[in-house]
């Protein structure tokens, strides 16, 4: 029961984080009229996943594992790249807002970056969606009562609530801080997605190097416990990662975080205050 709740929570959190951040970002830039496009991106990704899952189920076709893993890997790499670009774009926008004149930077959000954000939302939902649909379908077929399915759906609901909380919290933050901290969060999440893409590539049979176990935290912080599941959902935490995954995670953060945290023209002290 708790396990199914945590699985759907974990799978849903990543998407919720991205959707929540994008939604609050659009609102802060005074682009609330773009929000329907976000919901359209979320809904169409969810519906496509659900439709695909149902169609495969109907045809009694098993999920082609390699293709699914490959899709997850490619979508993950694209999403990680877009999230990095988004973080740096936010940093630039944030530092140019000394007077916090929101209207001044409005043009920074051009049509193209706006559409890119929608695509990011679509990818984030579609990436986790397919696996979730199969999990839910299997649950629906195997469980006799509604309890297991109910706990799975409440896991999803909890993930959605976290997304709402992120969007809401983002709205309450001071604008400069918002850009600063959400940028760090976005980079951490992107590092997790990039490392996860390496795992997906391995499971798709495309990458077999560096598969030794790096460390085993499954007794201290198991990924299917509550804190572990939340960390896994938000930042791609894995309790038994391979050396390759740890390397990707570390190298990704080494390459992006210092560049992101170096103050751009604006004194960092003011931001950290």
């Amino acid at each position: 029961m708790l396990a199914t709740f945590l699985i759907t929570l974990r799978e849903g959190l990543e998407a919720a984080l991205v959707v929540g951040l994008v939604a609050s970002l659009l609102r802060r830039r005074g682009h609330a009229e773009w929000l329907p496009l976000v919901w359209i991106g979320v809904a169409s990704a969810a519906l496509i996943c659900l439709g695909l899952g149902l169609a495969l189920d109907l045809l009694s076709v098993e999920l082609p594992q390699r293709q699914q893993e490959l899709f997850e890997a490619v979508a993950g790499l694209v999403a990680a790249g877009m999230m990095t670009a988004m973080a740096f774009w936010m940093r630039r926008a944030g530092s140019s807002m000394k007077q916090q004149l929101e209207g001044q930077v409005e043009q920074a959000l051009g049509t193209r970056s706006g559409l890119a954000l929608i695509l990011l939302v679509f990818l984030a939902v579609a990436r986790e969606g397919l696996e979730l649909v199969f999990f839910l379908l299997a649950l629906a077929q195997q469980s006799t009562g509604w309890q297991v399915l109910g706990s799975a759906l409440s896991g999803l609901l909890a993930a959605a609530l976290v997304g709402v909380a992120i969007a809401w919290g983002g709205l309450r933050l001071n604008l400069a801080r918002f850009f600063r901290w959400t940028g760090v969060v976005v980079l951490l999440a992107a590092a997790g997605i990039a490392a996860g893409s390496l795992r997906a590539l391995h499971e798709a049979g495309w990458w077999n190097g560096l598969q030794q176990l790096a460390f085993d935290l499954s007794h201290i912080l198991p990924a299917d416990g509550i804190p572990g599941a939340i960390l896994a959902g938000l930042f791609g935490y894995v309790d038994q990662p391979s050396v390759g995954e740890v390397l990707v995670y570390a190298l990704f953060l080494l390459a992006t975080l210092p560049a992101f945290l170096v103050p751009a023209r604006k004194p960092a002290a003011a931001l950290q205050a």
Partner: protein, 351 residues
């Protein structure tokens, strides 16, 4: 984006979502009805069951035949787990997110060999999965079939040139008059060598070129009866018939040149030709048919042997027997060979 364009985009987006929702709703209803009917998991009974406990797999050693194997993985441990079939460090198949107390199904196509299965926690000993070469074929590695396809293409090109030359000689002979028998037989035999391809890829032209009188409504007098066999039966109007035949051959060769014959069609065409040729009285013609079929078999035997050595050897033995047998035994030998060739389509997992 102007407000107007944005509004239009949003309206379009809502329409897309509505269409998707309708489609998914319909799929959902279909799926639900199918599950009500109980048909969806009819084959759940023959799945190989593996239970994962906190300490390992039960049983920890499995033996299954090669080919499509269904596994039912039951999670009896206290943790969510992922189950994998591993070949060295390569993951062959896997199922994620199996919650405690639940079971999930996994269907894998496995080639013969030794595999390992994961059993929950990484510290747990891995289980053994032995896949034996059985009657059930594994999926062919498509890369293995590209080589034979390409080689067959080369063979077709070479044999097409011989057929074109033989046909030209035939037309020449018909025009000049005199005994056309030997040239006609040579051209007919040349056609048999590529007939596995034309029989299935260009069926209409094949009928025009090599149709048998008994297959037409009015028999030998039917106006649609043309080709090699018509020329052999009836000398009337022979030059025009030969010209028509040459035209058909030219069209056929041009079309075949643009075609890549898939392995399944190669086998199906060879089997059809051999079966239809079971009552051939002419030894040279029968030998040419076997030559055409032999080319297909030689090319596809190596990948087929890896999947089912016995079925491949049987087809090869029947071919050798048919080549040596006297005309009196031809019917039975040809029918048996046709069946063996057809069976290889299943061996290769092609139908």
């Amino acid at each position: 984006m102007t407000p107007l364009a944005l509004r239009r985009t949003i309206r379009l987006g809502y329409a897309t979502v509505a269409v998707l929702a309708l489609g998914v709703g319909a799929l959902g209803i279909l799926s639900w009805r199918q599950h009500q009917a109980g048909g969806a998991r009819a084959d759940a009974g023959d799945a190989v069951a593996v239970a994962i406990t906190d300490r390992g797999c039960e049983p920890d050693s499995l033996t299954v035949p090669a080919g499509r194997v269904a596994f039912r993985i039951l999670n009896r441990s206290s943790r969510v787990l992922e189950w994998e079939i591993v070949d060295g460090v390569m993951v062959v198949e896997e199922r994620e997110n199996i919650a405690p107390g639940l079971q999930q199904r996994l269907v894998a196509r496995l080639a013969a060999g030794e595999y390992a299965i994961t059993c929950g926690l990484l510290g747990n000993p891995r289980g053994r999965l032995r896949v034996t070469a059985g009657a059930a074929p594994a999926a062919p590695d498509l890369r293995e079939l590209i080589g034979p396809m390409a080689e067959y293409k080369v063979y077709l090109t070479l044999r097409s040139a011989s057929l074109a030359a033989a046909t030209a000689a035939l037309v020449e002979q018909m025009r000049a008059g005199g005994d056309a028998g030997p040239v006609l037989a040579a051209a007919h035999a040349a056609y048999q060598r590529i007939r596995p391809a034309s029989r299935v890829m260009q069926a209409e032209l094949d009928t025009a070129l090599d149709g048998r009188a008994q297959d037409f409504a009015a028999g030998a007098r039917d106006p649609a009866f043309t080709g090699f066999r018509r020329l052999a039966l009836d000398a009337a109007d022979a030059p025009a018939m030969a010209a028509r035949l040459q035209q058909d051959v030219t069209t056929l060769l041009a079309r075949l040149e643009e075609t890549m014959v898939p392995p399944d069609r190669m086998l199906a065409g060879a089997a059809l030709m051999v079966r239809e040729g079971a009552d051939t009285a002419d030894d040279a013609l029968a030998a040419a048919m076997l030559e055409g079929a032999a080319r297909v078999l030689t090319l596809l035997a190596p990948p087929a042997r890896r999947l089912d050595a016995a079925a491949t050897a049987r087809a090869e033995a029947l071919l050798a027997a048919a080549r040596q047998a006297p005309a009196s035994r031809r019917h039975d030998d040809f029918v048996a060979l046709a069946e063996a060739l057809s069976a290889l389509r299943d061996t290769l997992g092609l139908r």
